[in-house]
């Protein structure tokens, strides 16, 4: 009989840096079972998954396009989570930003881009903040669990979007449930001609840079991290916990709102009800994989963007259902969570 004991002991640094690699390998081994079921050669499939999206300029840019909203929803989740505020409402706040973008795109008819684009960015941020306001207030005033309220509001805004798209904004000619095209002056310009990469990508990078600065080099960031590590201790140190939580929650909502505006102004040019399709929830994954720090969030958003693009490439080339991408994302998350835990323990033989 093996006589094992488990003790709490952090793994050495070289082992820690291997965690993302180990997680990726474990994920590929686990999901290759599904590839075999789909009668696809796993190695060939993973070539299409990870390498072929990067092998042409068109698809490499598409990876950046896919990771743009993920960077923002990931940053939104990471910003709130750092403060110990579990904002699961990124999905709803993204829709709020998208609704604001679609509305501004209608009312600002004839505006010049120099005015239209800043207004879109501002409008999306404010809309996301507003949609995050109620759960944040309920949390700090009445201690109502934010996970439940943010989740519920995700469903509520979908009804509002459906109401708008089937009512006032329904296309009078085609009867499609989509809002009118936004006016030229509010369209995010392309970063690379004839691609879909748009201004939103730069905005996402700037948000991550600002977030890095706030978290690491500002008094607010210090307060946020203190609250995240323990409310009681933070209160004892004289920090206004409620105020700090409220700021983190609202900024988080605003960042998610930017993701929504980007999808309207840079990709679709109108609002449709499937404009997000889970980007807000993926943001939670991105934030967790990125260890809640801005550099990590950026990298994991790129990786998830690669997986999403790769899933389409596998689907086209090998007739494997595109949903494999979602399974890979989820497996990667769960495996990483497990490994992050295990790194603090060591198994050894009992003497």
């Amino acid at each position: 009989m093996l006589n094992l004991k488990i003790e709490r002991q952090p793994a050495p640094v070289w082992l820690r840096t291997l965690i993302p690699v180990a997680a990726a390998l474990a994920t590929f081994v686990l999901t290759s079972v599904l590839l075999v079921l789909a009668r696809a050669d796993p190695l060939q499939a993973y070539y299409h998954f990870l390498i072929s999206p990067l092998s042409s300029q068109v698809s490499a840019l598409e990876v950046l396009v896919k990771s743009t909203p993920l960077m923002l929803t990931g940053a939104a989740a990471a910003f709130a989570f750092s403060t110990g505020y579990y904002n699961i409402g990124g999905e709803g706040q993204l829709y709020a930003g998208a609704v604001a973008g679609a509305w501004l795109g209608i009312v600002l008819k004839g505006v010049s881009p120099a005015i239209g684009i800043p207004l879109m960015i501002l409008g999306g941020f404010i809309a996301g903040m507003l949609w995050a306001l109620l759960p944040a207030l309920l949390k700090v005033r009445l201690n109502v669990d934010e996970v439940v309220t943010t989740l519920l509001l995700n469903s509520v805004i979908l009804f509002i979007v459906s109401f708008l798209l089937n009512g006032v904004w329904r296309d009078p000619v085609s009867q499609w449930p989509q809002s009118p095209e936004i006016t030229m002056g509010t369209v995010f310009f392309k970063l690379v001609p004839r691609s879909r990469l748009h201004l939103g990508f730069i905005i996402a990078l700037m948000v991550l840079a600002v977030m890095w600065f706030i978290l690491n080099h500002s008094a607010l960031g210090l307060r946020m991290r203190a609250v995240g590590q323990g409310k009681e201790a933070a209160r004892f140190a004289g920090i206004d916990v409620n105020r700090t939580t409220l700021i983190a929650a609202l900024v988080s909502g605003g960042i998610a709102g930017l993701a929504g505006v980007g999808e309207v102004a840079g990709i679709h040019f109108h609002l449709i009800d499937s404009i997000s399709d889970g980007l807000g929830y993926s943001g939670v994954i991105v934030a967790t994989l990125g260890g809640l720090n801005p550099v990590g969030v950026g990298l994991s958003a790129l990786f998830i963007g690669l997986i999403q693009t790769g899933a389409q490439s596998v689907s086209r080339a090998m007739n494997v259902p595109v949903y494999l991408g979602q399974i890979v994302q989820a497996t990667l998350l769960l495996v990483t969570l497990a490994l992050l835990f295990l790194q603090n323990y060591r198994v050894s033989r009992r003497r």
């Binding site: 079921l37 009445l142 109502v144 994954i285 949903y323 494999l324 969570l337 497990a338």
Partner: protein, 303 residues
Amino acid sequence: MDAFLVGLIAATLRVATPLIYGTLGELFCERSGVLNLGIEGTLFLGAFTGFAAAYLSGSLWIGMLAAILAGALSGWLMSLLAVRLGVNQHVSGLGITLLWTGFSLFGFRLIFGEPKINPTVQAFQPLSPFGDTPMLGPIFNQHILTYAALAIVPLVWWIMYRTKFGLNFRAVGENPEAADAAGLNVYAIRTQALMIGGALMGIGGAFLSLAQLGSFTFGIVAGRGWVCIALIIFADWQAGRVLWGALLFGGVAALQLRLQTLGLKLPYELFLALPYLVTILALVVAGRNVSAPAYLLKAYRRE
């Protein structure tokens, strides 16, 4: 008017059925100290495995069994992460929801391809114990799973409050240290709770595909899991009140459908959003949710 009311009550029971299973399943998880946000995905998995197994085997009951097993498996996976390893419950739950949603969609495409017409099975037939009796007849013309749901509520209450089994669940949710000191295996009990909870969620999902629709569609669950999460709070973690919460939610949804078929020009989205808003209001009124199990969301580590 009578016909309207009878139809409304009948529809309410139908809409409430999957919510009762899902919420009772979540009740087991939360009472033992684990918030299972994997519920949305587990309902979806139950709907898919139930349908696929029933379609391939030709038996609805085999489909049902498959859904129950799949649900229990989902609960076990959650316990592996949230109980054995003690990782963040929010994130692992959302991860499980994403995993099963992707898995079910993948599996459906693999088995059925991209059919022009959705494949169907002959759904469970309604049972009407009261025959053609006025009022009672048409109201109780429900699927067997609906009757079972109504019966399972007192059963869960009895388990929770009148058996040692239930006492253990509550003990590890309220105070795992004390439970451990008293000789209970906290990990094993939480794992059991999550597996039983998952199995109930599996039934709830299978009700949608095997009784209500007779087919599997990508929007089949449509946020019902999140409604269950809300109903738990609405019901103050009490099995009995889960029934009332589910009936209230079902009633509003059914009323919305009825009014629409009557041709009333109401923004039906408002009605659909109403139960969510009412739940938030209930949270506000409840204020500090004092009845929540004390160790909800807290992983237990034996030092």
